[in-house]
Symmetry: D3
């Protein structure tokens, strides 16, 4: 159940498609709950976040176990997660959808960026959110939240299976985030989904062009007319897609 390496071609493909397209392809396979609900980019990056999931689970904080000095422990799981998340991976935090205290702040996210992580997601909130938004690493949360994580959260497990925004996440699942939202692709489906998504995106780009030129969506989206199919083939050839 540990993270697995992500095929370079698959990663490249996933950088070019939308979370919406991926959601439709997973829906087609009977997976209806893979979008992490109610998170948004701290600041839109204009590019996709892609990487295998590395996870951190929070449980409710018991006051006597979560005083400020716990951070002096070099093994504290929140800090440990930051220092062990592999480069290219996305750190996902299960904050039980509770944004009343922070999941992390700009120092930790800066460190994660320096270590080469692909991004960070919490279904809670980040403190120092304004500054995190300025960093060169995609970050997604529910809303800014300034109280220290110790107020409500205790980091309890690194890289186990978690829930994040009501989506199931297993370490090694492939995470994709765009400027709208974040989705969890089960590891074993990543390659085929990525390939299919590229195809789907080509067709949708064609559709948008047609629609902007005045076409009706009936028969075009989805394609049920031979004429559209032919036009699309020519369009692809012309653009080398």
């Amino acid at each position: 159940m540990t993270g697995q390496s992500l095929n370079a071609e698959t990663r490249a493909r996933l950088e070019t498609v939308s979370v919406a397209s991926l959601a439709t392809l997973l829906f087609k396979r009977g997976l209806r709950n893979q979008v992490i609900q109610n998170v948004r980019p701290v600041a839109p990056k204009g590019r996709n976040m892609v990487g295998p999931a590395f996870t951190l689970r929070y449980m409710p904080a018991r006051e006597d176990r979560n005083t400020l000095d716990v951070f002096r422990d070099p093994e504290h799981k929140q800090r440990k997660a930051i220092e062990t998340c592999p480069p290219g991976h996305v750190l996902l935090i299960d904050s039980r959808k509770d944004a009343r205290a922070a999941s992390a702040g700009d120092i930790l996210v800066s460190r994660l960026m320096m270590r080469g992580a692909a991004g960070i997601v919490t279904d809670g909130g980040f403190r120092d959110a304004m500054r995190i938004g300025e960093l060169d690493i995609p970050a997604y949360h529910q809303r800014p939240s300034s109280p220290t994580n110790l107020t409500l959260h205790e980091a309890i497990e690194i890289n186990g299976p978690i829930g994040c925004g009501d989506a199931p996440v297993f370490p090694g699942d492939v995470i994709v985030g765009d400027d709208d939202s974040v989705i969890v692709i089960p590891a074993h489906l990543a390659d085929e989904i990525a390939e299919e998504a590229v195809e789907m995106t080509a067709y949708e780009d064609f559709v948008i062009e047609q629609v902007r030129a005045g076409a009706s969506i009936i028969g075009l989206y989805p394609c049920t007319r031979e004429a559209h199919r032919t036009a699309f083939e020519q369009w692809r050839k012309a653009r080398g897609r």
Copy 2:
């Protein structure tokens, strides 16, 4: 109960006033719930959306009735609504306030724009929200939502009475949206409300000027002093309003 045409002068007036002013005028007539709660512009447009309501109602999706191939049906109600919403109208979708799946995406909203609609509103969420925000058509929702609408919604009725964000909407009611929110003006009140709102806006513009010049709001807002009334009349004359 079908849409009615909107007086050109009324439309022009409604383009110059705020939803807040309209809400106050409806409140004065005993209508307290006409603002669509908890929706916001996908991207602020800096101008008002105005048009009669054309509606679409969603019900919870039953899985066997909502597989991807339903979209191949040229009569599918979601697509049909897009293709039949009259130019100049606003399409309002009753998504039961559920933003966990999309109400529509950028292809459909692009088509709606091409067909000349005045705008689109859902009390759920749009997928491809970033792209919808770039289109030249006002769109309002709760939050971005990437899963396909089939995941949770079945389009069941076109242009009947609906609820949208806890507001009652009848086809033909006049919808106005600004950069803050969206309001539903009952069709039979639109002309008189529009006229009154222009008056009210003139006075409020005057008030803002006075306040920025140092005036107290007591006696000025609302106007209970003769001196303010006189000053306002002069102000109007000077500005031709």
Copy 3:
């Protein structure tokens, strides 16, 4: 229980630190609920809002007591609060976390700005939010809300103790807002917290520099290694902090 003056040095210090740092220092003293939950800047100002609290409490509106003509009363508590909030203070409104109707609009906030207030916060919503965001006064709310406050709120008490976003607020407590959120510092702690926060901020600025230069957070944040302590002392000296 009336407002007390805020030490100029403390005010200056609080303008340079983050709400997150202040939250940690209050947490250290056993105060875990001082951040006003679920409010955000109407528009980020890039500078802190600092001032003693001046409060206004709303209760649910009974229709017969809240018709539009109540605003003709020069003693109406909403308007009175605007006209009596002392310069340099922050007006905090207890709207019972209900944003379905406005707490105030741009005319009142403009007047408050002209009177020299330091800012305004509601745990409900503002109408005319787009315009309030353009004013030169920090304002925080849950979300834009266009219905007049009379729809749901009756202003009932000026400058008593209130709840705001689940935080306790006493008149004279020191309020600090940054681009993420707002916090309530009990009046008697303001001076010592401000001083300590400046120290903490210096260290965190040092940490960020180290992290961006490639340092691990273990042993550095918090500081448990002598080497870091020494480096920090030199860093401070070099920067005169």
Copy 4:
């Protein structure tokens, strides 16, 4: 704004009618929010609670002001409210709809009962709820809640205007609770509403009898047929109502 005495005849009448009937009569007068939302009897009593409102307001608890020893203060407002609520009155607690900590427990409610209060209502929860349910005093809350009130609530004001379950409550308003819910009748309307409610109840009792005998509700409820009107008059005479 202090409690006023409740007419004995009005009290007697209000003991015989349902909260639903009272809600309809207030609705007729434009008052739509007088039912205290989301509270229920701790244990149904099979009789109405009737009395003028005596209020207690809670604000969010700041930890340093709410340690267990505050109860040693004979002036602590929670205990003071219990000891000063006049006989025949109903104590209403504004707990900001937060039932995560108790509003009161069985010792205080027992004392209130001994002092002759007519009942107690909180929009939060009671601890020792099972035992409170066995006492001979009506009590209404959201749900049982065992944590001491100090955990989240500080009693801050006795007998001022409050919100309770989103309803406005002024001291002296007349409170009526049945086995379903609780309603707030503005003091100045109590006599006329009580009288009208008795009339309405007589008619509804007649209607129920007719319906159980097989009558259609059309024309009967509400009464639009002369025949029903006549039958009702005879029914009343026969029963002396």
Copy 5:
């Protein structure tokens, strides 16, 4: 899309099985959202409610369309629905999950009972709930709610497709309620589901007996051991099931 008759044998079978069993059988067919969420019996009846769905849809009430005198209209849809719901059917009301105002009261439910309906369900609340609980007709709701339905609801459509507690309901679907909850069986599946549920229930009754006699659930529930299968066959024979 109108109601269809329910096979007598199917009805009889559905009276003997639990909603939980039915939910499992629908889950097996890919239908995961057929239980009406968050409703409970007004008073447990100790027997199942079974019948085809007859529906009523509410939309948000606009104040000028929902004054008390609308009930004088013999065609008012709420009253009309009561008077036209066919005997043996269950009336389901889509109240948009809003229990702040009533969906119906004891007079209407009494009439429905007299007309031979099989039951009534709302995803809102009933007024006069205590009295409805005493009637000889199963009724399910979220919680008691005393305000008249006009406060928030306008009855707008009879016997169309609706959502109820997030479940999709089409007229003629078969509704089953037990003392825990209510489920919607698509009309075309009712016969086969009923038959399968009787089988399933026989096995589960056997399992409960075995468990109470000390058996482990492993291999027994579900049945994966030949020995259990044989024992079950003998058990059935012995009991004639």
Copy 6:
């Protein structure tokens, strides 16, 4: 972090005190969040549930991993948890506060009872709740929920640290439930808390007697008068407590 045995004397003491008293004693030690929020007895038992915690964690269900045949696996974690929970322990299920699908049903709870468990708690809901309420084992949940757990939950971990109703739970913590709610006592505090709670309960029983005899709570609760202290000592002696 595995369960530890519970001192017999401590268990006996905890059977005689209320969750409210225990909550106060934990509050005194700075632990404010140990009550499991928003759960209630499926059916009140009139006696306490006491035992060390044995835990089960659910994560969101991915459809392809949670088909009905997973229960054929003798190692399925839900069933395994039932078969391994030690006698005298309380099984606590972290259902992420999601009651839209069941956490367990009557067959599993019956088996747990047969195996000698002290009780079961979920922050979700039970199916077959009516029948579970009739079993001789205390069970607590949010509300009845008929859909199979596979609809939303995957059992992922046995006896690790969890959150339950926003309370932190470690295996071996001592769980106490009464007819109002359930509390989590950290293992290392159980003995001293139990002893103190018995003392506290004696005093509160004395207080209740005094109050019912007409005493004021001022000076009595808490005890600040010598006279009350003396009376209590005599009361204890007289009753042998």
